[in-house]
Amino acid sequence: MSLAADQRSARRLRWQAAAWLWLAFCGVVAVHQWTFWRAPRLGTDVMALLPQDEQAPEVGRATHQLADQLTRQVVVMIGAPDWAGARRAADAWQHAIDAAQAPLKSSPLAGADALRDAMAFYAPYRDRLLTPAQRDQLAHAPPQSLVQDALAALARPGGFALADWNADPLGLWPQWWAARAGDTRARPRDGQLALSDGGLEWIALLRETTGPAFALTGESPVADALAKAGAAALAAAPGVKVLAGGVPLHAEYAAARAHHEIDTIGWGSVAGVLLLAFLAFRSLWPRLLMALSLLVGMATALSATAWVFGEVNLLTMVFGASLVGCAEDYGLYYFANRQGTPDAPPLALMARLLPGLALALLTSVLGYVALGLPPFPGLRQMALFSVVGIAGTFATTVCWFPWIDRGAPLRGRFSDRIAASFARWPRFGATRAAWIAHGVFVLACGVAIAFLHVNDDLRQLQSSPTALVDAQREIGRLLGLPSPAQFFIVRGASADDVLRREEDLKSRLDARVAAGELAGYRALSDWVPSRARQASDAALTKRVEDGVIAGVDRVVGEAQQRAAFDAQPLTLARWLASPASTAARSLWIGAVPRRGDGTAFASVVMLRGVRDLAALPGIARSADGLPGVRWVDQVQSVSALLGRYRHMMGLLLAAGHAAVLLALAWRYGRRAWRAWAPTAVATLGTLALLALFGQPLQLFNVLALALLLGIGIDYGIFLLERGGADAGSAWLAVVLGAAGTWLSFGLLALSSTPALRSFGLTLLFGILIVWFTAPLYRPRTATVPKAS
């Protein structure tokens, strides 16, 4: 007896040491968390999850540069049949939005002085700035017809010339400016941005949000103010059309909806989980401790990820946190057993449960570590986060719970009935019927899964309301805005190299414009042509205009000389340093590191008015064979990324199942399959159900299946581990765990955010199946090498 007592006190000492050590460790984590949250380094860039070598640095820079312009901008367009009505509505709108004190400031229009200054900047280079159509015409038109054109222009009433006649006898200069202004269809009119379309006079009103990009309060101040102002505009001029768009509106909508869902789904599931815990344990204390263990696990995971990777991607955190969710069952398992054997001292009980718990931890870790094998930074972050998170929760449960559990939870009718129901649950014997049933099941699932379709398209994750998306599209069409999602990146060894390559690309794009696939493009070389282009255009205009001036002189009896222009070419550096570059400066990416050594330079060529999605591949092919030109389709690359992650994780999931089965075999030998089978059945069944409901397979389903692996195997282990008299307690842990997971994740199937919904739906099916099949595979007798 004294030997046993010695052993017990030695165990007590070890456990005490472990508890204090863990507390000290948690102290360190807490300090780190405190500093982390003061300036959280949370990455939001999904593309950062791509393998490094797949994403050239200039693509990321270009994306950021383009996105920065958009994140704060709100565009409202007001359309009325007549200009007076549009103005009245716009004035009412502006009054209302200012009165609403929304976090929106107006973006003032550039004054007419800025235009005059820009023209003055460009004037010395007028002779080398031509549109493609002008270049073509000057090169091919017979000299006499050009003289005729110049004379016709002189005969026109009024002239509204931008330069002296001898500096621009053919009126090329206003056309060049018109082409530059053609990048948007809006024109200043009475201090507003205006355009006419479809019989309506439109006014574009630009505002910038001043508040944070994501309001976490669930309010939508911007949308509310816009709604009020829209109503005011309608009141001022009945029948006007009001369109509102901009990234802040989408972000605010998503945040407000997420908040609303947390309010309903979130609190609903919390209430359900609390109620279950209370019914089972007649106390909320166990539930609180489980929440504590999860909290510690999450904090540890966050600190570890931040420490290893420098920052934590938001996506990692969301999914990592979900995957850690399965670790909660450790605490549940402990308390259920504590309730089942109230007389056992807590430490002794924990010692007895430890092998099973450790195996549950090991299998989950194996499953999640598999995620981190491929060279995807995102998956590695996720793997590290979830593994550390589970381990942290495990350590908290094992080290602390025996000390702070406040005694065994009371038994109640609820927990007794659940525990007792286990014995009545059917069980698969090694009968022929069972084999046939399994064969039919696998076959049926196989057939259903064959009909499962895969869809990784990013656009299906679009969750903004249709009205907002439509308004956004209409605004883009009205203003002729370039798409921020598809563009070309042009690289070169020098700035001039970049401009020359842009010009090669543009000559191909002009053919696409002529074919109607594209309304136009925005390119730096439209504002600053390459040196070679400047030299050849200057030579062309000199030859032609000398002839035209001489021809006109002969007809009207004058003796004019062509004006002189700057002898030096316009350089990109000069242009960038001037305010004249304001309009197009964002197209210049600048110096980027070159593979190997040195630096290269890069720019963006943007597209306006792409006819439809079907035109994109043809436009993309314009880059084929052009050195340094690269097509970037953000929608497609993110979709492709999702697809690759889905594919990769699918394979890893299979590998995870294999690894888990091996680990189980190490402890349970030939009975290992019993712990694994429920999860395997649930995985197959879930896939089949998804196919049956016509749900597409995508990354978020696969992620949910990874979580299912972690959870389902735990249940298998619990039931296999605690045979005989304790089986009821293990079953109680499984029932409570499954019901809790079902409430917290399965309810996500009600979410209107597509990613969350497919995640939730998968778990809704999976958990349900694993819950009800796990007891079917229990052994006839209690297992197991009895632990110490």
Binding site: Q69, Q73, V75, W83, A84, L109, A110, G111, A112, A114, L115, A118, A133, S145, Q148, D149, L151, A152, A153, L154, A155, R156, P157, G158, G159, F160, A161, L162, D164, W165, N166, G171, P174, Q175, A178, R180, A181, G182, D183, T184, R185, A186, R187, P188, R189, D190, L193, L195, S196, A204, L206, L481, V555, V556, G557, E558, T582, A583, A584, S586
Partner: protein
């Protein structure tokens, strides 16, 4: 969307038009009493353009045709042949040989429509449209005559156009356009013949 604002800047300010305002009552009555507007008006013109850099004014003569709601046909005969057609949506020239000399209008520019409307309404004295864009001062001249001085309301337009001056009696007789660069266009109309509708060959001129 900085570029949007910036493009507002580079957008051709000359093409902008100004705020609407009801013509004041005196002006309305005066013009209503004196200017007779017919659906179609044709006649002859003599235009004198004084351009910076030119030693002599450019004098041209020809015939014109104004059809309300359709456009203006401006046929220069001396010192060279050239035809200008302005409609609501297009502005094109035709050379002596009949070929289209459309160098000025190769681009589909939304501002083009606005400049078209401006030229169109000046030549056809379309006062409803003009009153939207210009502050108008009207003065009676003698028993039957009048002068209208039009100043752009839009500061962007004022950067290019100082004023336009119309004078006449039953018809518009002279138009004078003063540009900010110092160029001046003076047009004198003569032998004006009103009619109720376009002939078939005349209608073809606007196509």
């Amino acid at each position: 969307m900085t570029f949007l604002r910036a493009f507002a800047l580079v957008a051709l300010a000359s093409f902008a038009v100004a705020s609407p305002a009801a013509p004041d009552a005196d002006f309305a009555r005066l013009i209503h009493d004196r200017l007779k507007v017919s659906p179609v008006l044709k006649g002859e013109f003599e235009q004198t353009k004084t351009l910076k850099g030119f030693r002599n004014p450019l004098v041209s003569k020809g015939e014109f045709l104004v059809a309300r709601g359709q456009g203006v046909w401006w046929h220069t005969q001396q010192p060279f042949e050239s035809t200008l057609v302005v409609t609501k949506t297009r502005l094109f020239t035709r050379n002596a040989d009949g070929s289209a000399g459309n160098l000025m209008d190769a681009q589909a520019e939304p501002g083009l429509q606005q400049v078209n409307e401006l030229v169109f309404s000046l030549l056809s004295a379309d006062l409803d449209v003009l009153a939207d864009r210009f502050a108008i001062v009207a003065q009676p001249v003698g028993a039957a005559g009048w002068t209208l001085v039009l100043t752009p309301r839009d500061p962007n337009l004022a950067k290019f156009l100082v004023r336009a001056t119309l004078a006449g009696e039953r018809d518009v007789q002279t138009v004078r356009i003063d540009e900010a660069r110092g160029d001046v266009t003076q047009i004198r109309f003569a032998h004006q013949v009103p009619s109720a509708a376009l002939g078939a060959d005349e209608a073809a001129r606007f196509r």
